[in-house]
């Protein structure tokens, strides 16, 4: 046997397994989305009425789905921007330290090591009416402050974003810091020698050098943040009302609390399509930049 054939035989079992576990469920979800089936209905899903694309049409007109999607996009936009800004700031700050980086860096990475559910609970306690935030504000203002931060739609969403930023800024920092430290120092030295300002160096040399990594970090973080579930579920369970219901909470409730599995399969495939388009667009841009370079 040729080397390629031997290699093919060796990896075949894994490939078959991977395909079984990826493609069969995927096609099942597609099929399920074309029927009108709920687990509470009785018959097997393939015995339920075939409805074609009706689930897709319905969910795209479902205010709950669209609102949850919009809300999630707001969370992603605000949280990822903040995480990127803070991550970059921390990168530059720590990189400028003359010593002590080995001590400081792991400390900054610690929040990332927490389980999201623990982070959610911690921030629930912080923002709880009798929690430390109100206690500190009471001390500072000299009178009792009793704000139910998680019972107000705006402040609850803000609290969730803050929890996500606290937990995932270290991830941004880790990637940016690694890239920054690995970047060649010569262009910066030359620019300084030629009298360029630090702002100019940052804008024209440092940032372009990090561009690919920034793009990757933003894509990964955005995809992860889009799936945010644990933190809002623990902090607000989507409330007050549905004011902090993210798309993952919506999908969970529809799928595994109400058992509308056909309906939610259509929703899941629509979301998958959206994510593929966005990711594809972002990676294409990355490839174009690479080619230009």
């Amino acid at each position: 046997l040729k080397v390629e054939a031997k290699g093919g035989i060796l990896v075949a079992p894994l490939q078959i397994l991977l395909n079984v576990f990826i493609w069969i469920p995927f096609f099942l979800v597609i099929a399920l989305s074309l029927f009108s089936w709920s687990a509470t209905m009785g018959p097997n899903w393939w015995e339920a009425p075939f409805v074609g694309i009706r689930n897709y049409v319905d969910i795209l007109q479902d205010e709950g789905f669209l609102m949850a999607l919009g809300r999630t996009l707001i969370v992603v936009a605000v949280a990822v921007c903040l995480e990127f800004g803070l991550g970059l700031f921390l990168t530059l700050l720590i990189a400028s330290l003359p010593r002590g980086r080995r001590i400081v860096t792991p400390i900054f990475l610690m929040p990332m090591m927490f389980l999201p559910i623990v982070t959610g609970y911690d921030f629930f306690m912080i923002f709880y009416g009798h929690g430390p935030l109100n206690a500190i504000l009471s001390m500072l203002l000299g009178h009792e402050v009793m704000v139910e931060w998680l019972a107000n739609s705006t402040s609850a969403l803000f609290a969730i974003i803050l929890a996500d930023v606290w937990q995932w800024t270290p991830f941004m920092f880790l990637i940016l810091y690694s890239a920054y430290m690995a970047a060649p120092e010569e262009p910066v030295k030359v620019a300084r020698t030629l009298g360029a300002s630090e702002a100019y160096i940052f804008r024209r040399i440092t940032l372009p050098a990090l561009r690919d990594v920034i793009m990757i970090a933003l894509i990964i973080r955005s995809l992860e943040c889009f799936k945010i579930f644990d933190i809002p579920w623990i902090m607000t369970a989507g409330g007050p009302g549905a004011a902090t219901q993210t798309i993952s909470i919506y999908m969970y409730l529809e799928g595994f609390k109400y058992w509308n599995l056909s309906y939610i399969s259509a929703g899941a495939l629509i979301l998958l399509g959206m994510i593929i388009i966005v990711t594809r667009y972002a990676t294409n841009r990355l490839l174009i930049v690479e080619k230009k370079m």
Partner: protein, 545 residues
């Protein structure tokens, strides 16, 4: 009325067992009486004081448990037979326990050891978090593997598990083995109807009486100075020893406002207003204001003036509560009431009372009193008032046992459920400190309690008085959707996002979609059956027959 006979084999086996049990109970052999009980069993019952009789003696030698054991023996099951029960975590104490000290019904063994000894069948308890039992059950209805034989589930999901094909119709076994669902040993009504039946058939057997009671701080309520001050302000007397006081929600709110003492660290009340809990407090109050959830055609009627008034009342009382009620659930409610003394009153499940009277965890064990949930003065319903108002009490998130359709031993699973929920074994189970099932058979209150029950006598009196007022959850297919839509909108009103009318209108519109999705005709049928499980006075007022 005990209408079912049993076979001679069962009777003989059961009779023998009873003789052994009563002998084992250590009852003094003094003057005994020979009593012939229905079902052709002849047993000897000691004529000694009631406690020495044990549960079986107190319950007139009821044999539902022994019929189950005898039937399992007659099945001649192979060695190693096992059944698996899916249970909410924290309820193991209701399954496995030692008999009460004055009763030797299990011969010194635990209940499950005794079951194993008698039948040779192992019982495996699989626990799931309380809020996830339904998900596990529905996963089984999708996977159809037969992981569980008996499922201990919340009663509000009965429509889902029946329509999905998960719950087995138990009619034939009820007919054959008589688990005493009705009759002298039967379930307190209307619990028996809505815990055990769906659409006219028996699909489950209730294991809990989770009706809401009202808990008040008696040290304040019965203080002569407070009573005088209250009377001078509101013009009527506080009646601390009357379980039917306060009569109305208006009076209840007067008490809450009067005893709201933020400076002393005690707020007027602790009522649920957070996500997933908001709906629980609403239902009983809504019905007690003469509100109907749906009309005869399943068109939502929740957004009428009765509903709006109740939501507005719920909002109006919020300034007298700690704002944390908007984000916290029962895990904060319980200790805030009895351990931290942060509220003058609360209402909820009977377990609050168990904890509140336990000096080991409660700071108010001698300072709590129990009261029947109040009602409203509903014009036109005067003849249906219960002690001064049109009362109803929510029965929410209680528990039922059902047999999985995918079990390989359905009849065995049924028999285990019959045994464990029987008047004798179940009567002991609900008194165990290691669980949270509350007494659901009326006969226990009448013949056994107070006595071995750890629930305080005054709470038992209140619980017994409340059972006839129990209003079932929305036990239709899609129960969780109906509940969750209402809950989401209620909580939005509590948080000030929308007004009561908009919240209830949105709820009604969304409920229509849910009903249409599941099929209006079938939902109408289920609703018309469910509402017959409402309290008698409510049914009469609404004209539901």
């Amino acid at each position: 009325v005990l209408k079912y006979g049993i076979t001679a084999v069962v009777a003989a086996a059961a009779g023998g067992a009873v003789g052994w049990l009563l002998g084992g109970a250590g009852a003094a052999p003094g003057p005994g009486v020979t009593q012939t009980v229905e079902k052709t069993l002849t047993v000897t019952q000691a004529g000694t004081p009631t406690v020495a009789l044990g549960y079986r003696g107190l319950l007139g030698n009821d044999m539902a448990d022994m019929r189950a054991i005898a039937a399992v023996k007659a099945m001649n099951l192979p060695a190693g037979t096992k059944i698996t029960c899916l249970n909410p975590s924290g309820s193991r104490g209701n399954f496995e326990f030692k008999a009460n000290a004055d009763d030797n019904i299990f011969g010194g063994k635990s209940s499950l050891e005794y079951w194993k000894e008698q039948t040779g069948v192992d019982v495996e308890i699989v626990e799931a978090p309380i809020n996830e039992v339904y998900e596990k059950a529905m996963q089984e209805s999708v996977a159809k593997i037969g992981v569980y034989d008996v499922i201990d589930l919340n009663h509000n999901f009965i429509g889902d598990v029946v329509e999905s094909g998960l719950a087995v119709n138990l009619d034939q076994w009820v007919q054959k083995y008589d688990p005493e669902l009705s009759g002298p040993m039967g379930y307190a009504e209307p619990l028996g109807r809505f815990l055990n039946t769906y659409g006219g058939h028996v699909y489950s057997m209730g294991s809990d009486a989770d009706v809401f009671l009202m808990y008040l701080r008696k040290d304040y309520l019965a203080d002569p100075d407070e009573m005088a001050a209250f009377k001078s302000k509101y013009g009527y007397d506080i009646r601390p020893d009357d379980i039917y006081f306060p009569e109305t929600w208006d009076q209840y709110h007067d008490l809450i406002k009067f005893f709201d003492r933020p400076d002393e660290g005690m707020r007027g009340a602790w009522f649920w207003r957070s996500r997933f809990f908001a709906v629980m407090g609403f239902l009983g109050q809504f019905i007690s204001n003469g509100g109907k959830l749906f009309d005869d055609n399943m068109n939502p009627a929740i957004n009428g003036p009765e509903g709006q008034k109740v939501v507005q009342d719920m909002i109006d009382i919020m300034p007298y509560m700690d704002p944390v009620v908007l984000t916290a659930g029962y895990e904060a409610q319980y200790p805030d009431f009895y351990a931290n003394k942060k509220a003058f009153t609360t209402f909820g499940w009977p377990s609050i009372g168990r904890y509140a009277t336990d000096p080991g965890v409660s700071a108010i064990s001698d300072a709590v009193s129990f009261h029947v949930m109040p009602g409203y003065k509903v014009p036109g319903a005067e003849q249906f008032y219960v002690k001064g108002s049109f009362r109803a009490s929510g029965h929410t998130f209680g528990w039922i046992n059902l047999v999985s359709n995918y079990s390989k031993n359905k009849e065995l699973a049924y028999l285990f459920a019959q045994w464990r929920l029987s008047p004798v074994v179940g009567g002991m189970a609900v008194t165990q400190p290691g669980g949270y099932e509350d007494p659901y058979r009326g006969v226990w209150y009448d013949k056994v309690y107070p006595g071995p029950a750890p629930i305080r006598p005054d709470e038992l009196v209140c619980l017994r008085a409340t059972l006839p007022l129990a209003v079932p959850d929305i036990q239709l297919r899609g129960s969780r959707e109906y509940d969750d839509i209402l809950d989401k909108n209620l909580q939005a009103t509590f948080a000030g996002q929308i007004g009561p009318k908009d919240a209830l209108d949105e709820t009604a519109a969304a409920w229509q979609k849910v009903t249409d999705k599941y099929g209006r005709d079938k939902q109408i049928q289920a609703w018309k059956y469910l509402r017959l499980g409402y309290p008698e006075h409510v049914k009469k007022y609404f004209g539901w027959t």
